[in-house]
Symmetry: C2
Subunit: 323 residues, 2 copies
Amino acid sequence: MKSLTPSYQELIQKDIARVEDLMRAQADGLTDDLKAATRVMIAAGGKRIRPALALLIGNLLGGDIQRLITLSAAIELLHTATLVHDDLIDGALLRRGIPTLSSKWSPGATVLTGDFMFARAARLSAETGSLEVMKIFAQTLSMIVNGEIEQLFMTQCMADRKSYLQRIYLKTASLFETTAISAALISSENPEIHQQFAKYGYSIGMAFQIIDDIMDFTADAIKVGKPVGNDLRQGIVTLPVIIYTENHPDDEEISSLVNGKCLEEDNIKRIVDKVKNSDAISLARNEADQYVQQAITNLNDIEPSVYKTALLELSSFITQRDS
Amino acid sequence: MKSLTPSYQELIQKDIARVEDLMRAQADGLTDDLKAATRVMIAAGGKRIRPALALLIGNLLGGDIQRLITLSAAIELLHTATLVHDDLIDGALLRRGIPTLSSKWSPGATVLTGDFMFARAARLSAETGSLEVMKIFAQTLSMIVNGEIEQLFMTQCMADRKSYLQRIYLKTASLFETTAISAALISSENPEIHQQFAKYGYSIGMAFQIIDDIMDFTADAIKVGKPVGNDLRQGIVTLPVIIYTENHPDDEEISSLVNGKCLEEDNIKRIVDKVKNSDAISLARNEADQYVQQAITNLNDIEPSVYKTALLELSSFITQRDS
């Protein structure tokens, strides 16, 4: 988290608190164990970028605040549910610096907690009262799972730009796109506006994931709350490595990745350092910046307002964050 | 499966085949492994009671067959997804006589396959085009997960009739209720009809689960495809045991269950035999029959038709099946 709170956060601070209340309320009536687990996952919640996106877009378009809060809680709960299952899938022990549920609980209890959050997310999305939003929501859940499947089974140890972009779209940008278009759908009847914000959300999401992937090389392990070089260790090849292989076609140590052959554990640390100390990091950062630039072109014909300014701020925060 | 095919099955045989095609089509585009796993789960599919229920009710009310097939596939896929996660949660090695996914795969791959099916089920439910159906669908997912949670955490080793009935409603009857009301919703505009079929589905579902629980004591392990006495071994106390404790308040060996104290492994086989050889089994069967009788009172004022006859047949099949 940046030490200086950006003003987009101040603008929606109270609404974000209401989103978090609504998320927490979903655990009411559960056993103490499950309630605690659900609340820990919710409290660990990070930057709330997705609710911020929904609230700013919805407010900008004059949407009903209660429906926007419901939508935001649905989206953030869906996101949190995918994290619970992801940690089980990855076997991760830490997430955002705290132990994952799956490191402390049985797979059964973990999967159930995730399922519970999915179910509640779906219920909240129904409470927005928009069939369109529910349809998109179901579609997105399917896309996120497909992204996970590609990551786990289909693109392991492959340095392929096209499949990387496809995968980060499915796994991350699809939910940003859904967040943006859903907020627009419940706040405006203009289909052009819906499409404009869908594109905005898509590009912001792509930038967000590229920065995440860069941080797996550059970040302070303690700040990010997970070990550095984690992706490559799991056979997940991200943009910095792809750029490095594109620019160093003769580096034999790393070229095997092109053929889906995984690196040996002994080599990973050296390769992480190689990539980290090359220009691949700044080139990857440039690509993220381009996505952000592309995103904000979709705001060009929106009239100036405090919410537009905040959205522009949020857009640049995406690439400037360091955790 | 009964050796003599009941005619309700003949009546909808072709539609059931279309439902199965649509379910299988959901796995298109997956990796070979996941496609195979998904298809094995779908092929193992059992009796297709839920699609049969949706198709018969929908046809009886003159609903659109394409929407009914989509709804049926959504419901059966949701059911199949819960089985995939259940097996992981229970640590079950066999389901319907074949090895479970979770016995052969990592928890991660299993959870992902289940998530994929949930996602596709939600997508199919959206394709029915009914906001009401989608809302009920999301609600039901939440109820099923809550039922699992109660089973795993809250009602372990407790012989309590009220919490048993609540649990089997959440875990099983809720989806039967949803199946019936959803089929009615997309086939009729009469709210009384919707409620009538909701009640019908509820009662059929309660009977279905009671029979399942009885079979855990009485069934041929090979036919059912899982070991007998499984529930009690997992601390799940079902109606036959509850009736036995009600009728034998002085049986010290079993009375500890009332207080949520689990039985020791050494005692379980003896207690299973005790319950099995008492009148608790036939008394439990009577209760299931009463639910079926209650169910069909909701069909009283429906005009005679081939579909009404088939629904009555399906109703009695619920308690007559032996697997």
